[in-house]
Symmetry: C2
Subunit: 87 residues, 2 copies
């Protein structure tokens, strides 16, 4: 696989993984989660966990790193959603 293609993959992984950061910060700051879908982040958590496992099976370290970081960020959004929701 060529070097240029792997740069595209690396950029793509960085953007999708980093995308969760501004959402985590927004909730951290506002403590508001009303409009956030719990089901979205549950499905996303299961999905990125499976991508991590896929990376493990095909020995892709970059895939494992990107998806474990995504999983932790998504898990923190799930935690916020559970704890900041009005009862």
């Amino acid at each position: 696989m060529s070097f240029n293609i792997e740069i595209i993959g690396f950029l793509a992984a960085t953007l999708t993984t980093a995308s969760f950061v501004p959402q985590v910060f927004r909730i951290w700051k506002t403590k508001e989660v009303k409009d956030i879908s719990f089901m979205m982040y549950l499905s996303m958590f299961l999905g990125v966990s499976l991508w991590f496992y896929y990376g493990l099976l095909i020995n892709s370290v970059s895939m494992m790193i990107a998806n474990i970081i995504s999983a932790l960020l998504v898990l923190s959004i799930l935690y916020f959603k559970k704890n900041y929701s009005e009862k």
Copy 2:
């Protein structure tokens, strides 16, 4: 690449792509986007667009399909965020 590994990849892609659906429906129903981070979905849109391009470069049809669906779902959340935000 073995058949079993590709089942894991297919399941992972289905879960991460489908995860956006409940968020789209939630906003569609409530028309509330206050807690949604625009930056998250902008970064996610650029990321899945690059994953689509990566899929094109390595001739992975499943990668192209999963990421074009994700891109459209993410784009609709960006549209909602722009249009339902209080001015």
